[in-house]
């Protein structure tokens, strides 16, 4: 469990990126921080592995104040995946995946063998192991990034807009892959994005942020969509327009769903079985 307690961050230039932020992130669930730029979402994420230290308040992981932990050691125990993969361009794929285990002193042979197995886990061909990152496609690089994040089998996985720079088809593939992985591994995932669709797809708990890290609403995707807390949330998630604003029209005795632009979204087949929607994975 990760707990933010009245956390603020003021940068040296005076910008108040996060102001009195409190949040509990449950273990073994995916929490998505979603907001536009300036909402402080990346700053919040970076505070968890002490890339950024708060100017006020405390952050605890499983009851331990992380300010009391050595930053380098803390970072080696937390998986981190970022946009543009952040892979080391001078190391082969397998060595990139083995990076953190090697830093933690795992023998080279073991680390490489584990790294190869990790490639299987994220759905990469072992034949790519000896390539350099520049020889992979964007989607493959991102998978290597995820493999590197998981290599030390961390409890916590931080993901900073990891699929932001790949094309929509590959992004959808990577998102499904993450859903599959998470259902197998059950990590405490903290995921940052500006894409509401991505947040609703991946998040068990979604945190919608306004400027300065102010929480507009916290809840499951279903809660938020069904009961947006205010106009900001409603407009941010697009509940009032496009494919989220569906209405029923009768057509030859059947009920069809039409979105606000008049496009056909599907047919109504009856009520879902109770509990089928919005169950945490």
């Amino acid at each position: 469990m990760i707990e933010f307690r009245s956390v603020s961050k003021q940068f040296p230039d005076g910008t108040l990126a996060v102001d009195d932020f409190s949040l509990t992130i449950p273990s073994h669930r995916t929490t998505v921080l979603v907001g536009s730029s300036g909402s402080g979402k990346t700053t919040l994420l970076r505070m968890i592995n002490r890339m950024v230290d708060p100017t006020a308040g405390t952050i605890e992981i499983d009851g331990v104040d992380i300010a009391s932990l050595e930053p380098v050691k803390l970072r080696r125990s937390i998986g981190y995946v970022m946009q543009n993969s952040g892979l080391l361009p001078h190391r082969k794929v397998v060595d990139n995946v083995a990076t953190v285990p090697l830093l933690r002193g795992v023998p080279r042979k073991t680390a490489r063998a584990d790294a190869l197995a990790m490639l299987d886990t994220v759905g990469l061909d072992r034949g790519l192991a000896d390539r350099y990152p520049s020889q992979l496609s964007g989607g493959q690089q991102q998978r290597v990034g995820v493999a590197r994040g998981l290599a030390v089998n961390p409890n916590i996985l931080l993901m900073d807009e990891p699929f932001g720079a790949v094309d929509p088809i590959v992004r959808a593939e990577l998102q499904q892959e993450l859903v599959r992985l998470q259902s197998e591994l059950g990590k405490t995932v903290v995921f940052v994005t500006h894409d509401v669709d991505e947040a609703f797809l991946l998040g068990d708990q979604v945190v919608i942020l306004e400027e300065g890290g102010r929480i507009a609403q916290i809840g499951s995707p279903t809660d938020i969509l069904a009961h947006p807390a205010n106009d900001f949330v409603a407009s941010f998630i697009g509940a009032d327009r496009g494919k989220r604003a569906l209405h029923v029209e009768r057509h030859d005795g059947r009920e069809v769903l039409v979105d606000s632009d008049g496009r056909l979204a599907g047919v109504l087949v009856g009520d879902a079985a109770p509990g089928q929607v919005g169950v945490p994975r």
Partner: protein, 228 residues
């Protein structure tokens, strides 16, 4: 050419002397410039001071340097060590800026992600920053190598035997072939060291070629086949 055939031993000895005078300064200037360049890149204040001072070193004329150095470091006026020290100073003057620029050229995203996954400042320098600035460092080192080989010829004037001795001796005795031999041998030696550095670079920086081959393949629209 007759002079050359008759004096092969002399040419070989002077070439070896020249190597012994020029290789240590090349290595030393790299080793000394590393921490200075790192410091210059790390803090804005130190950058200004270190780069200005090291740049000024290069402006010191060589002859006064040869005369002042023995007094400063306690060597004799005709010791070859003076030349090694002077060449190292010139090499450092060039390399410090190269190291600072090389470290600054490392992609900020890669740096940030290295810190985020748990590289300490020390491991980050040796395992990330240094190798990734390799191409820039190599380019700088090649300039230092060639300029050191060429500067080492002046050693002849202060009594350090080198290929430069072939020009001074040739001038004094009026042997044109000896002068030309000195010039040609110096150029060849410079090319040889440059080639050696390129070869070291190929071995030490294999990923730089991987990237090029991808780009070339992309241009030709060929699939990239990478053999492990």
């Amino acid at each position: 050419m007759n002079w050359v055939w008759a004096n092969l031993d002399l040419i070989r000895d002077r070439t070896l002397d020249h190597l012994i005078l020029s290789v240590p300064p090349i290595i030393l200037s790299f080793v000394i410039a590393l921490p200075l360049g790192w410091l210059a890149n790390r803090y804005r204040l130190s950058r200004g001071v270190i780069l200005t001072v090291s740049g000024l070193l290069y402006a010191i004329p060589s002859f006064p340097m040869f005369i002042v150095l023995p007094a400063l470091v306690g060597t004799t006026l005709r010791s070859p060590l003076n030349l090694v020290i002077a060449l190292t100073i010139y090499g450092v003057a060039l390399m410090v800026r190269v190291v600072a620029d090389g470290l600054a050229s490392v992609d900020a995203d890669v740096q940030r992600s290295a810190v985020a996954v748990g590289f300490s400042t020390w491991t980050n320098f040796w395992q990330v920053e240094l190798p990734l600035s390799g191409p820039v460092l190599l380019a700088g080192l090649r300039v230092v190598a060639v300029s050191t080989v060429s500067l080492a010829t002046v050693g002849a004037v202060i009594g350090a035997q080198s290929l430069g001795s072939l020009f001074t001796d040739g001038f004094q005795r009026g042997i044109q072939a000896e002068i030309i031999t000195g010039i040609v041998a110096t150029v060849l030696l410079a090319l040889l060291l440059d080639g050696a550095l390129v070869a070291v670079g190929r071995l030490a920086l294999p990923w730089t070629r991987a990237r090029k081959s991808v780009r070339a393949a992309a241009r030709l629209r060929l699939p990239v086949e990478v053999t492990p």
